[in-house]
């Protein structure tokens, strides 16, 4: 898979990262080599293999993992906002969006 500087630019935009032109040039071959490394997996024929979501066997998938619809204590407003960089009036305050 060919990775171009435009792909890196798009990835940066999607990830909300600001990168310099220099970084973009440096990252392009690095990302390309990471993808080439992972692409080796494509050499295996997996046409007969069911994808294992979460690494589970069919028996594992059938193991009940749901919870009952019961309300458990929440953190509450004060604790929820404790680590927020800019809480105000009980809200997370962020730079204007819209």
């Amino acid at each position: 898979m060919l990775i171009t500087e435009a792909d890196i630019e798009k990835l940066a935009t999607l990830a909300r990262l600001e990168i310099t032109e220099e970084e973009r040039r440096a990252l392009t071959p690095q990302i390309a080599s990471i993808i080439a490394y992972v692409e080796q997996l494509n050499e295996l024929d997996t046409s007969e293999v069911e994808p294992a979501i979460g690494g589970l066997t069919p028996e594992g998938e059938r193991t009940p993992t749901m919870r009952d619809d019961e309300v458990r204590p929440s953190l509450g407003q004060k604790v929820a906002l404790e680590e927020a960089p800019d809480p105000a009036l009980g809200y997370f305050r962020v730079p204007k969006v819209l």
């Binding site: 749901m66 009952d68 407003q77």
Partner: protein, 491 residues
């Protein structure tokens, strides 16, 4: 819509499922609590927190899927939909993508052409294909106004983040705004009826989006579609689609082309406007959610959900028509709400007169409920009491006019019809001997009028009826009074 054009419309409806707790954590789904009170590491997206699926959400989604005619997949998987927005703390929404909870639905709705005032003419059935119904979590809520410095700041409340939703997507099967309107009302009514969602659009528990395009009649290809948002009521949605159809036809007829975009409905201005958006290129990079196992449902589970399903509104409407001889509009009105349908049916049984019960419920009862802002569940008149009132009228013990007065008092006081009739001494006198005595008195007291009547002045019958009614304090059965007077005067 101009005759040589055709609209092609598809709908996406999001409905909040009626659970106590969120879909992947135990936080409450209660509406109106103080901001961010109902949050925890899972719904705040704190590192290391793991989602666990709410069984009730799955049951309600299954109920909705079956009621709307979809097939439930025995195995579906959750996927991450990645995007950045302040109301989405994890940076992704847990949704479903290529293996959704249910698919391949076909739903028959009733739809009608409307006149200029929006009154329905001629209902007819139409089949709508439903592509999929899947489970997902809701995002939080961004506040852009009503708080300090909103020119610089937005405020985020994550109480709603992680609330269970179903997303219901149709094929582009609607050809008019009214078809879309009738469909959303059908879905809304059904979800409420089966208890899957309270589908309250004001609270944002039901939201819809429409994809609208137009093409010349006979054209196979679809036109460029526009996505409509900010449709805060079913009526807004209908108006927005109508506006958008005309707008697109106007653009095309003047030689322009429709731009693929998202537009917002502004009801005050009565128009759609392009959404201001920094990033239109959607690239959600869906991938399977590694923190949740596939959702496997068994045949027994589906059989149980099916067995617990109440008779659906459309089936009940048809049964009201077949069993009680009601007209479509009346049956439809009585099945808008399950509690109302139950009320009617109990009243009809108690009255042993379904048509009269239907009339009373549709007119007097709904009017009083509306005027007093009362839910039918807490109606002061029990259906059995309404049935008893109807029987009193059917037996001729009170007149229809008195019935309405008694009804008003029943609604105000919760007393039974019998009790009110007794206390107010309203009961009609239908005892022939008693009325005959009053008739004879009236004749004996007015010899001049008798003579005139017998000489041909038949209009005087009304005078005699009045005399008898007065003597009986309005309680004599007018039919019997008339018959007896005629017999005596003519004899």
């Amino acid at each position: 819509m101009r005759n040589d054009w055709e609209a092609v419309i598809g709908l996406e409806v999001h409905a909040q499922l009626s659970t106590e707790s969120k879909i992947f954590c135990g936080c409450s789904t209660r509406f109106g609590d103080e901001p961010n009170a109902n949050t925890c590491p899972v719904c705040l997206g704190l590192p290391g927190a793991l989602p666990v699926l709410n069984r009730r959400a799955v049951e309600l989604a299954a109920r909705a899927a079956l009621a709307l005619g979809l097939r439930i997949n025995r195995r579906s998987i959750f996927a991450r939909k990645n995007y950045f927005y302040p109301d989405l703390p994890k940076g992704y929404q847990i949704s479903q993508y290529d293996q959704p909870f249910s698919e391949h639905g076909e739903l028959e709705i009733m739809t009608a052409v409307r006149d200029a005032e929006g009154h329905a003419r001629e209902w007819r059935p139409k089949k709508i294909r439903i592509t999929r119904l899947h489970l997902e979590e809701d995002a939080g809520k961004n506040m852009h106004e009503g708080l300090p410095d909103t020119d610089r700041y937005s405020y985020v409340d994550l109480n709603r983040a992680g609330t269970p939703l179903i997303e219901i997507v149709t094929e582009p099967d609607f050809r008019s705004s009214w078809e879309a309107y009738d469909y959303v009302n059908h879905v809304r009514q059904t979800l409420r009826w089966i208890g899957a969602s309270d589908a309250d659009m004001e609270k944002g528990n039901l939201r819809c989006e429409a994809n609208v395009s137009v093409r010349r009649k006979g054209e196979e290809r679809f036109g460029t579609k526009v996505e409509l948002k900010n449709l805060n009521s079913v009526r807004f949605m209908q108006r927005a689609i109508e506006y958008e159809i005309e707008r697109q036809i106007g653009v095309l007829e003047s030689g322009g082309s429709v731009v693929q975009e998202t537009r917002l409905w502004d009801d005050r201005a009565g128009e759609t406007r392009p959404m201001r958006s920094k990033e239109e290129a959607h690239d959600y990079r869906y991938f399977p959610e590694p923190d949740l196992p596939p959702l496997v449902v068994t045949d027994e589970f589906i059989a149980r959900v099916r067995a617990e399903m109440p008779e659906l509104p459309s089936a009940r409407r048809q049964r009201f028509m077949d069993q009680y001889g009601l007209a479509f509009n009346d049956a439809a009105q009585l099945t808008t709400d399950r509690a109302l349908a139950d009320y009617f049916e109990r009243a009809a049984q108690a009255a042993n007169n379904a048509r009269a019960a239907a009339n009373w419920v549709r007119t007097e009862l709904l009017r009083e409920l509306e005027a007093s802002k009362t839910e039918v569940e807490s109606c002061p008149i029990t259906p059995e009491n309404l049935g008893a009132l109807i029987r009193l009228i059917d037996q001729g013990r009170i007149s229809g006019k008195q019935g309405k007065e008694v009804f008003a008092e029943m609604f105000a006081t919760g007393k039974s019809a019998e009790e009110i009739v007794r206390q107010r001494g309203l009961e009609q006198v239908s005892d022939v001997a008693e009325i005959e005595r009053l008739v004879e008195q009236a004749i004996a007291a007015n010899p001049k009028q008798v003579e005139q009547y017998r000489a041909g002045k038949e209009g005087l019958l009304g005078f005699f009826v009045g005399q008898v009614m007065k003597a009986s304090q309005g309680r004599a059965n007018p039919k019997i009074v008339n018959e007896l007077l005629r017999a005596k005067l003519n004899g």
